[in-house]
Symmetry: D2
Subunit: 411 residues, 4 copies
C-alpha cells in the first residue's frame, strides 16, 4: 500500500523512472567529464532538461499543478535520488523548489513575473540565503543580517548588510535571485522578528566570497557559496516577500514537503548504494568464496535491508500524513524523519564503502560523494539535535494531554 500511487501520478512516475534509468544515470559520466568548475553547465544536463520538459516530467514538486499528492511525489523523489542529475534535469532541485514555493505562495505579481516564471521555466536559478557564519543558525532566531529601512529617490526600500554562507546554487552561472532572511532595522532598532526579501543576485554590493567544499567536494557547478551583502539597496515593492516580520512563517512553509523530498532522495541514493554493495559481494571472491557467502557480509546485507525499509516506511507514512492532515499537524513526524533517515542512510552508505575497499573511498564509485551529501543532511535545515527537541516537545505535549495536565505548566 505504501507504494500505491494515485491515478494521475502513475503515468508520470512511469515516465520519470524510465527517463532516470535510461537517460540520467547513463549521462553522469559525461557530465562529470565536461565539468569546468562554476563556469558552465555541461550541455548534457541542459539536454536532459529539455527532454524532461518535453516528457512533461517537469516541476513535479509543484504537486498541485499535476494533481498529485506529497506521497506520490515522495515516491518520485526516491527515483530521483538514484541519479545525481535527475532532480536538476526535472527542475526539482533545491533550493529552487523551496524558492519557487515561497514565490508562488507569498510573491507579488511582479515578483512572480520576474522570478517565478523563469525559475519554473528552468532557465534561471536561485539561492536561499539564511545561515550565517557568525552565529549559531541552528537557532534561527540568531540570524542577524540587517535590512535597514532607507528611502532613496522617494522610494521606500532596505539596505541589506550581512554575511551568509551555505548558499547552495549561488554560483551557478544561471543564478539570478536570492531569497534572503534578515531583520528590519528602523531608527537603529533591530526588530525581533525576521523578514524575507527577494534580492537580485547581481545587485551592487553582492559578492561571492568563496566556494565552500563539503568534505573535499566543491559540488560544482551548483556549489555552496559564502556571500557578502554590503549595503545592497532594494526597493520594498520589488523585494519584500509577504510582510515585514513574516520571515519565520515563510521559512517554515518551505520545510514540510521539502524534508520529504530530501529524505526520499537520500533513500533512493541508499538503495543505489545497497544494490552496488550486493552486486559487488556476488562477484568478488575472498578467502575462497564470494563475499556474499561470508557471514559478516550476510549480516551487513540484512542490516542494510532493515535500515532501508525503516527509513522508507517512516518517510512515506509521513508524506501520507501531510496529505491527510497538513504539514503543520505532522510537524513532529517531519522532524523525526529529518534526524532518523540520514542516520539509516549513512549506515548503509558506510557499509557499501567498506565492502568496496579502496574503490569505495575514491571517485571510482559514487559512494564517498553520497556519504558527504547525506552527512550534510544531518546539519542542513536544522541539526538533528534541534529536531529531537521538537519531537520530544510534541511527545511531551501528547503525554500531558493524556495525563490531564495543562501543557503550559510543564513545558
Amino acid at each position: 500500500m505504501i507504494d500505491a500511487l494515485t491515478p494521475p501520478a502513475r503515468p508520470l512516475f512511469q515516465k520519470l523512472t524510465t527517463f532516470i534509468d535510461a537517460e540520467c544515470r547513463p549521462a553522469e559520466e559525461e557530465f562529470e567529464e565536461k565539468l569546468d568548475g562554476f563556469k558552465i553547465i555541461p550541455e548534457v544536463l541542459l539536454a536532459l532538461q529539455r527532454r524532461a520538459k518535453e516528457l512533461g516530467i517537469w516541476n513535479l514538486f509543484m504537486t498541485h499543478l499535476h494533481n498529485i499528492t506529497v506521497h506520490d511525489y515522495g515516491l518520485m523523489s526516491e527515483q530521483m535520488g538514484t541519479s545525481f542529475l535527475a532532480a536538476y534535469a526535472t527542475n526539482c532541485a533545491a533550493p529552487d523548489t523551496g524558492n519557487m514555493e515561497v514565490l508562488h505562495d507569498f510573491g507579488t505579481a511582479l515578483q512572480k513575473e520576474r522570478f517565478l516564471g523563469p525559475l519554473m521555466d528552468g532557465g534561471m536559478r536561485s539561492a536561499f540565503l539564511m545561515t550565517e557564519p557568525d552565529v549559531a543558525s541552528s537557532d534561527a532566531r540568531n540570524v542577524c543580517t540587517e535590512f535597514k529601512k532607507e528611502t532613496r529617490s522617494g522610494v521606500e526600500g532596505y539596505v541589506v548588510s550581512g554575511r551568509k554562507w551555505w548558499s547552495t546554487g549561488a554560483e551557478d552561472p544561471r543564478c539570478e535571485v536570492f531569497v534572503v532572511m534578515g531583520r528590519v532595522v528602523e531608527n537603529s532598532v533591530m526588530s525581533k522578528h525576521h523578514t524575507m526579501l527577494v534580492v537580485p543576485s547581481k545587485s551592487p554590493g553582492v559578492t561571492i566570497v568563496r566556494s565552500l567544499t563539503v568534505f573535499g567536494y566543491d559540488d560544482a557547478p551548483f556549489g555552496h557559496a559564502e556571500v557578502s551583502l554590503d549595503d545592497v539597496w532594494v526597493s520594498k515593492e520589488d523585494s519584500l516577500l509577504g510582510e515585514e516580520g513574516a520571515g519565520f512563517k515563510i521559512a517554515q512553509s518551505r520545510l514540510g514537503p521539502g524534508r520529504i523530498h530530501h529524505c526520499m532522495r537520500a533513500i533512493g541514493l541508499a538503495r543505489r548504494c545497497f544494490d552496488v554493495m550486493v552486486e559487488r559481494m556476488l562477484t568478488r571472491k575472498v578467502f575462497g568464496k564470494e563475499m556474499a557467502r561470508h557471514g559478516m557480509s550476510q549480516e551487513k546485507i540484512a542490516d542494510c535491508k532493515s535500515d532501508l525499509d525503516c527509513a522508507r516506511a517512516i518517510t512515506l507514512l509521513c508524506a501520507d500524513k501531510i496529505d491527510r492532515i497538513g504539514a503543520k499537524a505532522a510537524r513532529g513526524d517531519i522532524s523525526m524523519i529529518k534526524y532518523a533517515v540520514p542516520d539509516f542512510v549513512l549506515r548503509i552508505v558506510d557499509k557499501a564503502m567498506q565492502v568496496h575497499g579502496g574503490m569505495g573511498m575514491c571517485e571510482d564509485t559514487m559512494l564517498p560523494r553520497a556519504y558527504s551529501y547525506v552527512r550534510t543532511l544531518r546539519i542542513a535545515d536544522g541539526p538533528d539535535e534541534v529536531h529531537k527537541m521538537v519531537v520530544a516537545r510534541e511527545e511531551c505535549k501528547a503525554a500531558l494531554k493524556r495525563m490531564g495536565i495543562a501543557v503550559g505548566s510543564k513545558l
Copy 2:
C-alpha cells in the same frame, strides 16, 4: 493509511481496545496477587475470558472467521501487547494460536473434534514441542526426537522418545495436548525428514521435568517447561498431523502471521513502556527541573519515538504484504521484522528502565518483565542470525536476477 482497518475489523477493534483499556490492564494487579505457581489460573483471567467471548472478541487470530485481514489483526495484536492478560483473555495467546492453525489446516476430523474444538472454546490449552536441549535447534534440521514405528495390538503407531524444552504452556493446569516435532524411525533408520504428531499431554511416559525461568521469571501459570518423552506410544490415526515427512511444511505454516502477532504485541508493549517513561519524565524533578526538560531526556524521547515508529511501520507493511501476496512470497520481510523489531523494542524498554532508576529494575513496574519477554523474541522461532541469513539470501537472489545471473551458480 497504515492504521486503516477494513470495515469488518472496525467494530471488533473498537470493542477490543475498550476491553483492554477498561478491563485487562486494570486486572493485572489482581492477577499477580492471586497467582499460585502453576496450580491455578486466577479467576480474574477466567472472568476476562468469559467477557471477551461474550463481546465476540474471541479467536480473532483466526482472521478468516471474522473476515478480517492479517493487517487488521496486526493492529489488534498491538493493542493486546499493552496488557499482559489481553492475549490470554481473548484466546489469542501463543502457542495455542499456532497449534489451532495447524490443527485447522492439517488435522483429521477426529483431531479437530478432540482438540481443536476445546482449544477454540478456551477451556483447553496446548503446547508446541520443538526445541531440544541437546542440539542446536536454530538449525531445525537438528531436531531428533524419535518417532519409532511400532504396531501395538494391531494398531499402527509410534513410540515417541526425546527431550524437549521451552515448551510454553505445558504446565498450564488446563494443558491437554502437545504438538511434537520429530523424525520417524523405521527399521532403525531415522528419516531425514521431520514429522509432526499430536500427543495427549497426559500420556504415560510424558514427564514435566522442570519449569524454566526467563531471567528470574517462571512466567507462571503458563510457564516454559522441559518435557521428557519416554516411550510414549500413540496411534498413527490419532496422532499423525498431515503425513510423515510433512513436519517442516507444517511448522513453517505457523510462522508467517505468527511473527506479525509477536512483533505487534511487542510494539504495543513498547508503546506502553514509552508512555510510562515520558510520564515519569514529566513528573519527576532532578537538578531543579523536570527530567523532561533535560537534554539527555529529550534525546531519549526522540530516539524512542523513531524506534517505535520504524518498528511499527515495517511490521504493518509486512502484514499488508502477507495479505496481498501471501506469507511465502513475503518470506524475506517476515524474517526481517523478526530480527529488526525486537532490537528496536529492547532499546525502548531499556531506556524506560533507565529513566525509572531503581524502580525500573524491580516489580514496581512491568519494565524488567517486558525486557525479559522481548529478549526471548531474539531467540524464539529461530535466532536473529538465521533470519539475517534468510534476508541476505533473498536479497542476493533478487540481485542475481537483476544482474542476469543464474541463481544456482552463486548461492
Copy 3:
C-alpha cells in the same frame, strides 16, 4: 604493565585466584541448591569464608592492611567477579566494604568496637540506606529521611523517620547494622546538608517492608530490601558518623575505590561470559560446521574481545590514577568508568546469551543473572546520566583553563 602487581600483592593474588578457581566456582551449584530464601546462609559459603580467612585472603579491600594498591586490588576484584561467591567468601562484598571503610574512617571508638570489628570478622553484615522510593535519588540532594533532634532521658539523639529501598543485604540473617543517610531536623527546620547515622538494624521502628526483585531475581540470601524507619530513636553518641552535615563527604569517600571494585568484578564476570560463549561456539554445530567457523560468530568474538579489553584497560588505568593522585583528583575518570564499563559488559553478556539460545535465557547458565546484575550498575551509585554530566563538567573546566577563561563565568 597493566597486569603488574606490587610485590606484596603477588602471593595474595595467587592464593586468591587458586581459591576462586578451585573452590568458589565449584561451590556455586551446591550454594544454589541449599538456598532457602533469606532464612539461612548455606553452610558451603560459611566454609568458604573460614577457608579464605585461613588463607589470609580476607578483607583485601582494606588495601592499607595488606600494603597493596587500589590497582592491585582491582586485579583481585576481577578474579572475584568470575564467581558469584568469591566476594562474599573473602569478606569483600558490598555494601559491607563501603560501610567498613566509613566506620574505619569516621567511626568513634565505640562504633568501631561494636560494628567494625564484627564486620571485619565476617560474622556480622550491614546495609547502606541511601536511596528513597519517593524522590529522584539520582540527585542525592533530594534524599529526605528525617533525623529529628530529640533528647530522651537526658541523652541527645535523633528520631529517624523515612522510607529507604535498594538496601542490599538488609535481609541477610546476619545483618545487624544500617548506615543511614538523612537530614537533621531541628525546631521543624530541615537542614540543607545531609548527615550519616549508624542505626542498629533491629531497633524498634525498623521494618523490612519487602524484598525487591531485579528482573525476576530476589538475590537471596542477601537481597535488596525496602525498609521503613518509623520513629527510630538513636542516641547521638552511638549513632552520629563524623559530624552533622558531613553526610555527603562521607558518602563520597565510599565511591572512588568502590567503583573500581564494581567495575573490575563486572569485567571478571564478562570474561567468564566471553569464555563460555567461545567454548559453546567451538562445540556446537549449526548448518554443517561449528558456530565458531561462521562469520557472524567471528564478528561477535572480535567485538567482545575489544569491548572487554577496553573496559579493562580504562578501569585499571583509573585504579592506577587513584593510587597516584587520589580519588578526588581522579573524579572524572571514576565517573567515566562508571558509565562506560557496564555498557561494554552488557554487550558482551548479551552476545553470550544470544549464542546460547534458549539455554542463555534460563537458569542453566549464569548469563541472565549476570545481565541483570550488570544492568543495575547503570543505576546504582548514580545513573549514567549523572556521571556523564560530571565528566562533561570536568572536561569543560579543563578546556576553559586551556583557553584562559575563568571557569566560573561559563559553568
Copy 4:
C-alpha cells in the same frame, strides 16, 4: 603509568611536543596556501624538516637508533597526530617508514646505499605498491602482479607487469623508489608465493595513471596514485628484497609497529577534534545558553571522552606488549586495535563535525579531512573484517587450549 616514557625518550618527547605545538600546527595554514598539486613541496615543510633534523627529532620511528621503545614512539605518534605536517616534518610518515624498515631489515648493501640512505636523509621519498584494482586485495594472496624471470645481456632479472593503486606518495616530486609486491613467473608458471622487489620509480614502463581522491581530497602533494607497470625490467641483484617467496614475511614485518603508529596518530587527531569541539561548545550560544550547558552536548562530551580513553589505552597497552613479547606474539592485539581504534576515532570526529554545523563540513576546520583520513584506516592494511577474523581465530585457539582440545581439529 601508561604515559610513562623511558629515560632516553623523555627529552625527545619534550622537544617533539614543543616543535609540533609551536611550529607544525602554526605552519599548516601557509602549507595549504602554497600547495600547487603534485608539482612542489611547499618550502614551509622543507624548513620544518631541516628544523626537526637539527633538533634531533628525526627518524624517531627507527626506535633502536634512539634507544626508545615502541611504547615511547607510540606516545610520540600521538603528538604527531595533532598536526597534519608533523610526521612529514620529522621523516616519520608512511609509507617511507615501512619502506625504510624493510630496506633496513632485508635490503642488500647496494639497496641500502642507493635508497635507504637518501630516504633516511629525507631528500628522497618512496611508495609501497601492494593493492591492485582488479583483485580483492583484502585477501593478500590474490595479489598477482607478475615478475617474469628474464635474463637480459647476461644479467638475471624480472619483467614486472601489473597494475597497482593506492600507492601513497608515488606522485610526490621527490619519490624515487617503489617497493612492489608480486609473484615470480618462471616458464609461464606463477609461483604461489609472493616476492618483494625494489623498483626505481622512473624506470621505463612505469606510468602514474592518475591520482585517486579520498572523498574529495587528492591529498597533494603526497597523493594516492594508480600506477601501471608495463614490462619494467629490473635486475635481480638490484631489486630482489630478501629472497623469492619472502614477500609475505617482509610485508608482515612492516605491520606490527606500523599499526601502533597509525592508531596513535589517529588518536592524537581525535584529541585535537575533541578539543575544538569542547571549545566550540563553550563559546557558542544556542537557545539562550552555551552549547556546553545543554544536556545533549554533555552526553556527547562524555561519550567522546570514554571513546578517546579506550582507544588510547588499548593501543598503548598493545605497544607495550610488542615491547615485551614481540609483534608476532602480540598479533591478536595488533589486529584488534586495527579495527577498534578507527571506529572510536570516527565517532569522535563525527560528533565534532556535528557540533560545528556547516563549518564542520567545510575547509574552515580540519574535521572533514580528519574524517576522510581516519575512514581509510578501516580499509588500509586489511579491512576490519579480516582483522576480526584474525582476532576470532586467536581467541578460539586460546579457548581450545584451555579446553584441552587440539587446535587443528576445530579451526
